[in-house]
Subunit: 311 residues, 2 copies
């Protein structure tokens, strides 16, 4: 049946990136190429009455009737999602991810589990969706690399021997938003559509934030520089963004040094608007930034799907 | 005239701590003792129509008619205040502060200037009011000490040879407020009147925040610990507060080490509710906390007032 459907439709597998605010489905052919994509504003937070089955039908459209495996990564597997795919402990290989794939009750969808890493203090860190993007990088990047996945909560990931050995989350994007919106730092700032990544203010912020150990002190520079006229109102957001990202990079470098890893080269993965800022900030502090593919999540789903026998 | 008024009233000098949200006046006798105090919700932000002269009369009550010098510290000397008392550059002695006292146009009030410190990157930092508290510490603490002044924006101050040599502002109190109120960290937290300073969660937060170089990562622990059930909802605020204060102390220690100063002993100055948290957090990371006097600002105004010939 599945074989016939695959033959008829030319679709071998449907990969879904299902996050908090939106969902995207990809038709993948037998060679592993994406042949079509569909998108809907049906993130886990948006779904009325938690009717995930109906949301999936809506996202897939006429693909919904095909008897073809669907495989998803992201917040759809969280406690607030369709069904919880419990976190798998690091270090974790792809095989382990594939073994812990969770099916929805009617087998409408298989979901990749997230990862949990406990640091030496026992404090946990979690990711959900990024593990699949990392899996999608393995072909290009090999079995040992450092990656950063920019976002509201950016992730720094240490991959060793093809496993996610450890990672750290930095709430950089969210901190920028709340400080600009609700703290004294935003009061002297103009809201302009400035290309922060290219500005001198951004570069100055990166330099300052990466050199100052104390972030709670460093960020205050956005106020004092503006107060003394050294920073124009329209440059405050760029400077603060640079300061936060610079501090994040310096902290991640320190963490990786403790793990006996260097960050001469970092893979920058994702399609977030923040990626450009990291691609600018990293070289400014002596790190070579290598962009990862935009479709890392699809490539990861294909890879994990093969291990799970779905493809 | 002034001599007669002083004789008659028993008041030699009126010291005023005039901040953003409130104002407090102190009657000081010829021996330098405070004999009475008056308080009004007439902070710089609260004063309608910027009628500072009327606000001063209201604060002073029947003291207003006395021909006795009035001398203030705090935001009343800022650009948003009665008259700007421009920042004096560090390193600054008391003599310099006294020389730069600014009078209001009708000589209703003399105001202590704030301080400005420029770090090796040229980024400025500012204080206004705290310089007077530091001056009020010199009798007790001698000419060489480290002080922290907890608050919405806490200040770490390096005093050398009786001068304010350098300082750093940390926006710790404000960061706590905006993260709890507006970020994902507050979502798993209960709002309870917990004595954060005494709790195990606060101590755990201090230990974690002081050990983690990356604050944007460390704070995320408030979410993951709550998410995994390791931290109760009512302990989230205490843990986060500890994490931020611990990170601040570690960063300040690193900054002072660069200045060839150690922080074996730190003077904790102020009457903010945060003082108790610092007095708990500092010993937890091996620093002896010595409380400063609650009336440091009055003592500082007396001291600077004498240098300025007002007393």
């Amino acid at each position: 049946m599945i074989a016939q459907e695959r033959e008829r439709s030319g679709i071998a597998f449907i990969a879904i990136d299902w996050g908090t605010t939106s969902a995207r489905a990809y038709a993948v052919d037998a060679s592993g190429a994406v042949t079509a994509t569909r998108h809907a504003p049906l993130g886990v937070q948006q779904i009325q009455g938690a009717d995930f089955a109906q949301a999936l039908d809506q996202l897939l459209g006429d693909w919904a009737t095909l008897e073809i495996p669907r495989f998803a990564a992201g917040m759809i597997g969280s406690r607030q999602g369709w069904i919880e795919a419990p976190y798998v402990d690091c270090p974790a290989t792809l095989d382990v991810l594939a073994q812990h794939v969770v099916w929805t009750p009617e087998r409408e969808l298989a979901i990749v589990p997230g990862l949990l890493y406990r640091d030496e203090s026992g404090v946990p860190d979690v990711m959900r969706g990024e593990e699949t993007q990392i899996a999608g990088m393995l072909d290009d990047a090999g079995d040992d690399f450092i990656a950063v996945l920019p976002g509201t909560h950016s992730k720094w990931v240490h991959v060793q021997r093809g496993r996610v050995a450890a990672f750290q989350t930095f709430m950089t994007g969210e901190a920028f938003a709340v400080l600009m919106e609700h703290s004294i730092l935003g009061r002297l700032a103009a809201r302009v559509a400035n290309d922060a990544a290219g500005s001198e203010a951004f570069a100055a912020g990166v330099a300052y934030g990466s050199a100052q150990a104390g972030l709670l002190h460093a960020t205050f520079g956005a106020r004092t520089l503006a107060l003394t006229g050294a920073l124009a109102a329209h440059d405050v957001p760029g400077w603060l963004s640079g300061c936060l990202i610079g501090n994040e990079i310096a902290a991640a470098r320190g963490w990786l040094a403790q793990r006996a890893a260097t960050i001469d080269v970092v893979r920058v993965i994702g399609s977030s608007a923040l990626v450009g800022r990291y691609a600018t900030a990293l070289p400014a502090v002596g790190v070579r930034a290598v962009p990862g593919p935009d479709d890392a999540v699809v490539r990861g789903l294909i890879r994990i799907g093969r291990h799970a026998g779905l493809l």
